[in-house]
Amino acid sequence: MPAAKDTFAAMNRLPLPQELYLIAHEPSGKPLVHQSSMALGLAGAALLELALSDRVTIARGRGIVADGTPVGDAVADGLLPLILRDRFGGDVKSWIKKAAGDVYDRTRGSLITAGVLTQVTKRRMGVLSQTRHELADMAWVVRACSGVRSAVEGREQPDARCAALCGLVGVLKVDAALYLGRPSSQLVGRLRAIAGENSPVVQEVVGIVETLINEAAIAVYR
């Protein structure tokens, strides 16, 4: 949907999953958290993108599709067919778990398509081939972090998207990427508080992502 795409462009910002991806990776492309945690965080971000664009309504752990038109982001829009084919009775946890299956590749793919990431293949010790997805321009990360940093420092009142990003950065504990020089426990607490204060939907989805990350850590089989 071009209009929606233009919205992201006009804001000069990336959609939520992509911003979270950039914050949660080093510029060299190395992820800062475990892949299962990362995937659950990105899936939560994609769902929040839909919820904050009024495509999905969420309350008390259940969701329904309010408007099936795409938002213009490949990752979030990729979630819509899954929700429309819902076999989980509107269970948001199940949506996130299901979406987590391929959301990482989709997010990375969309960032490559947008030119934010570049695929680089190197040889380790001259033999082993290794592919990394490096950042093309640091400005994207700076932009992704700026809203979160402003919200944490109280310089700006965060909107719902920013609050959602704060919450997910807090849950994934990638606060070190913000370079705020504060103790992690304090910073994570502040990020979670921002998410909690802003919108019940943000608070709920961020809480579900946190629960799923905890449960993934004690799963019998990965």
Binding site: S36, G63, D91, L212, E215
Partner: protein, 461 residues
Amino acid sequence: MQPQESIEQFGYRQELRRGIGLADLVFYGLIFMVPIAPFAIFGSVYFASGGMPVLAYLVGMVALLFTAASYAQMVKAFPLSGSVYNYAGRGIAPPVGFMTGWAILLDYVLAPCLLYLVASIAMNSTVPQVPVWAWLIIFVAVNTVINLRGIRMTVTLTKVMIAAELAVLALFLVIGVWALLQGRGREFSFSPLFNPDTFSWSVVFGAVSVAVLSFLGFDGVSMLVEESTGGSAQVGRAMRLALILAGALFIAQVWVAALLVPDPGGLLAHPSDTAFYDAAAVAGGDTLSRIASTATAISWGLANTLVAQVAVSRLLYAMARDRQLPSFLAKVSVKHSVPTNAILLVAALSIGLGGWMSTQKDGVSLLGSLINMGALVAFVVLHVSVIVHYTIRGRSADRLSHLIMPLIGMAILIFVVINANVMAQTVGLIWLGLGALVLAGLYAAGRWPALPDLTVPERSA
């Protein structure tokens, strides 16, 4: 209820993928029990049973088949991937659930400690130049690093480990039977099953309290109920199958080993941690003895500790999440997707307690008895949960499944507990007393045990 009944009516939502079939569930139960488990505690069982280890394993299997039946009933009623903590809490009352969880914590928390100790003794028997305590530190360090890195058993690895353990067992049985036919050891007899000179029920039940250790872990299958393709009915079947399979394997190996024991009188007078390896040496020399001890070390010290760590982490997480244990025990590392604090707690306990037990003559036996005590008390409560939930509250007409079988299972386990090691009984009682104090503390702090809402959440169209 149908096999695919929803867990949502219990305040939880479906989380885990349902993709594990009957065979995988049985394999998981077997890897948890370890098909060659008697290798490590054969000496203690032989000593406690008056030379009738086969009878001890047979009675133990029957007792736990009743327990498996009660598990199947509770898994059917509450298809949650919890543990007996969940079933007692929901089947009877949350405070009972807390006390049951507390009792089985003794099993779950001490199990890795015992596994490390047994593996260390086995390795010390293979490489005597390295002392047991040093092997213990090595095993704890290696496993802690593996666990903290987020590496755990996969379905494929489970199958590979089972195949390897069965291969070692088959080797022992073939060489053992061949040796017996060649006249080594003693000629075939039923004395490992029944010896009128040493038989008494107190001896048998006392021995069961030791032998039952080999079966512990069959209940770990219940952790996979949410992933089971056949739901709770399949989990019940898998538990029974795993128990029967393990029981048959245990009986076969201890029968052969009992006939190969080089000094039966000596073993009846003093238990030995290396009795099985000594019996293996009679049949196949040092090579078979070393294969048996190395297989024990790998299966107990690596494969089983991986699954035991998951079990203890899940129990600590569930109890801490329900605010019945300190919240730091539920903390996970997002970076590595592992329950860091639970892993470190188990490592610290294993080094401390395992190190101390390694200096005790009957360390393995005592640790095993403590673990069994925790599990047996919890299993008794499980039987009570079936009676309370189905017969008293649900007014079930199925008297066999919901009253008679739990009562028989409970009676056997109570006999086993009564005849268990006195030290284990004392420590078990102290542990339960401590649990009662913690429970009183929770009440005093206004944090009385509660489980998530049991009401049925509204379903969207």
